[in-house]
């Protein structure tokens, strides 16, 4: 009797999708997103629903698109009879199940606006996935797809019915014509390069050549953080500074205080996540680092790494201070600068907590899970600070305590840093 007949669709499902850190990075937020979306529909919080729904949908597509890169990088996959079909079936289940849950929840809870949003996110996700199946390089733009989707949720407050119907129609057409877009899931040597680069750079949206040949001073200042990150550290820092200047300018012309503070806090933490991700992917590099003559022991190298993380947190602190101080100065009639102090301390404290948690993690999969929850926690704290109308001295005391705790946790995490040697 053929083994193929006996094989259930879920064979290898857990290991393939949940134990590979790349897809886990998307699946975990997807699960949280499904749960949060249903909860939000029940509670009828209309402001947040577009974001959670679209985020969930895009995460599902991104995880499957990511694994399609892995398939293209696997030289033998089409030679094993039935292997590709088996994995693709599992991928389709990952896409379909959360969407069915969301559609059912929207129908049962009469959240018809959610259905319209889903039609748009499904179109975007389907197009992205189908393109990734043919060209592995497309996945490098995944960050932009996420940004575009988040942007759409802000722009498309009320999606007209005709647009939703058109999106469904185009999605169906795309699915029907999928074989005409080129050879899907064909092995290509470039795919392995793209796969490894994406994993090592933390899905960096910045082109590899950006700021090539610049920033030696900054690299020295943040050493050995820059040792693990390479050019990416400079790129991320430049990106953060660009966003800082953009938000600063926006606040001069328009009243965008709260959202800009939340966006800046979000991006600070996400960029730290990327920095940590790169470090954990380049664990082997420790062995070379600790042989450098500037360090007399492994412990000294670890302490130096932790201090570089602190320097980065102080850089965030400085940017936060200038941004929120400026907002308070020009937008508040009688600025007390409580918000400035509290936001600055909580944002840089959050960055330090991310560094500390990252230092405790040895494996990518555990790191993914730990950092998703840490990011959730840190951003929830910042969210509370941004939303608070009236500040008291006690709030400031809490923020100082939070910051000091984060500083202490980061210092203490040094001895837990895994050096792989």
């Amino acid at each position: 009797m053929s083994n193929q007949i006996k094989r259930a669709w879920y064979r290898g499902f857990y290991a393939y999708w949940f134990k590979e850190c790349g897809s886990l990075n998307y699946l975990l937020p997807m699960f949280i997103g499904v749960f949060a979306s249903v909860l939000i529909m029940i509670k009828n919080i209309e402001e947040v629903l577009p974001f959670t729904i679209c985020f969930t949908s895009i995460c599902a597509f991104a995880s499957v698109a990511w694994q399609s890169i892995r398939l293209q990088a696997t030289e033998w996959h089409k030679l094993v009879p039935g292997y590709t079909k088996h994995i693709v079936t599992q991928g389709h289940i990952i896409i379909i199940v959360p969407h069915i849950i969301l559609i059912c929840a929207a129908l049962i809870l009469h959240q018809y606006h959610a259905l319209k949003l889903l039609s748009i996110s499904t179109l975007l996700g389907t197009a992205f996935y189908l393109k990734c199946r043919v060209t592995s390089k497309t996945f490098n733009a995944s960050a932009y797809v996420f940004f575009a989707m988040i942007g759409l949720t802000i722009i498309l407050k009320d999606i007209p019915l005709w647009l939703a119907c058109s999106a469904i129609f185009v999605t169906v057409i795309l699915i029907l014509l999928r074989d005409r877009f080129g050879s899907a899931l064909k092995w290509q040597p470039q795919a392995l390069i793209d796969y490894k680069h994406a994993l090592q750079s933390g899905w960096s949206p910045i082109p590899k050549s950006f700021m090539k040949g610049y920033g030696q001073g900054l690299n020295k200042f943040f050493f050995p953080l820059s040792y693990f990150m390479g050019r990416s550290l400079l790129q991320y820092t430049a990106l953060l500074l660009a966003i800082f200047i953009l938000l600063f300018t926006l606040n001069y012309f328009y009243v965008v205080g709260q959202p800009s503070l939340f966006i800046f806090a979000n991006l600070s933490c996400v960029l730290v996540f990327m920095i940590l991700w790169t470090r954990i992917q380049r664990q082997q590099a420790w062995s070379t680092l600790i042989t450098l003559p500037i360090y007399s022991s492994v412990n000294e190298a670890k302490q130096s790494y932790v201090k570089a993380g602190e320097k980065y947190a102080f850089f965030i602190l400085l940017c936060s201070l200038v941004l929120v101080g400026f907002i308070e100065l020009i937008r508040f009639e009688s600025p007390s600068f409580y918000l400035t102090a509290i936001y600055t301390l909580t944002n840089s404290g959050g960055v330090l907590i991310c560094f500390a948690v990252g230092n405790f993690c040895r494996k990518s999969a555990f790191f993914s899970v730990a950092l998703v929850f840490t990011l959730g926690f840190v951003l929830a704290i910042t969210g509370i600070v941004v939303e608070t109308k009236e500040f008291e001295l006690a709030h400031l005391g809490g923020a100082i305590g939070y910051f000091l705790f984060a500083l202490y946790a980061n210092r203490k995490s040094a001895k837990h840093l895994y050096t792989n040697s």
């Binding site: 094989r7 290991a15 393939y16 590979e20 030289e75 030679l79």
Partner: protein, 279 residues
């Protein structure tokens, strides 16, 4: 007449305006263990990939188990085993999980062979694939490619990362397997001693061309290095000249005859032949 398991007919392939395969003609029949010997970049991997349909050739024909390799059906696929140079694809799996999934695609999977080789390569089924050394990954890839006893086995530098003992044992197993089941094996390598130990045939690839393809024993007995005086002319027209310098030539087709004006005629080991041809 035996049916060829793998056949190349006047195959050409161009990559970025470079001809990486030139007029390739090769036949692999059941029971043959063909060692593909060549320098890095000689075209060995391209040659093997074209037999699997991973790379499409520009001109000529390739028949894998009698079919076009780009259109192998399920039945034919389950008779081909392949180990790529870079083992990749089961990250996130433990060895046990990877073998469990992989074996489910083959009805001829031999569990006892799998267990034997796990022991031989000292692989712990609970170890995660991404934590394995390059050699261990290679060993796992070999088990995955061979445990269903394929008719045609294509191995791209299969033992380069194994330790000498594992390499020696594996090569002998490979030979036994081929003899037992009448399989055909083609493997690329830089290690001439591996070829000398197990290969029945040798194909020497240089600059995308198969310079030599012959039985190993035949090759050893018919290849000679002939030294001569550079000031004198020497007649070697009755032989195939594989390589010539001002005072020496590597010839094929030698049958113990006298060569007038030759200063010295010497036999060559496979390694010496390889080095001389690339000198």
């Amino acid at each position: 007449m035996t049916t060829a398991l793998l056949e190349y007919k006047n195959v050409h392939k161009i990559f970025n305006q470079n001809m990486v395969l030139k007029s390739i003609n090769l036949i692999i029949e059941p029971g043959m263990v063909v060692g593909l010997l060549g320098k890095n970049g000689a075209g060995k991997t391209t040659l093997l990939r074209s037999a699997l349909g991973l790379i499409e050739i520009d001109t000529g024909e390739v028949f894998t188990l009698g079919a076009n390799p780009t259109q192998l059906n399920t039945e034919l696929k389950s008779q081909v085993g392949y180990v790529p140079q870079q083992a990749f694809g089961y990250e996130g799996f433990s060895i046990r999980e990877a073998l469990d999934l992989h074996s489910s695609f083959y009805c001829e999977w031999d569990n006892s062979l799998e267990q034997d080789w796990l022991k031989r390569f000292e692989l712990n089924p609970d170890d995660m694939v991404e934590n394995l050394s390059i050699g261990q990954r290679q060993a796992l890839a070999l088990i995955m490619a061979m445990a269903y006893r394929p008719k045609l086995l294509i191995l791209d530098e299969p033992v380069a990362s194994l330790d000498p003992i594992a390499r020696r044992e594996f090569m002998l197993d490979l030979f036994d397997l081929s003899l037992e089941s009448g399989s055909g094996v083609i493997f690329s390598t830089h290690i001439t001693s591996d070829i000398e130990r197990v290969a029945t045939h040798v194909a020497l690839v240089k600059d995308g061309e198969v310079k030599l393809f012959n039985e190993l024993d035949e090759l050893k007995s018919s290849i000679r290095k002939v030294n001569f005086n550079p000031t004198q002319t020497i007649n070697l027209s009755q032989f195939d000249i594989l390589h010539q310098t001002t005072n020496a030539a590597i010839i094929s087709g030698y049958q113990n005859e006298q060569i007038p004006d030759a200063l010295h005629i010497s036999s060559l080991s496979l390694e010496q032949l390889f080095v001389e041809l690339h000198a």
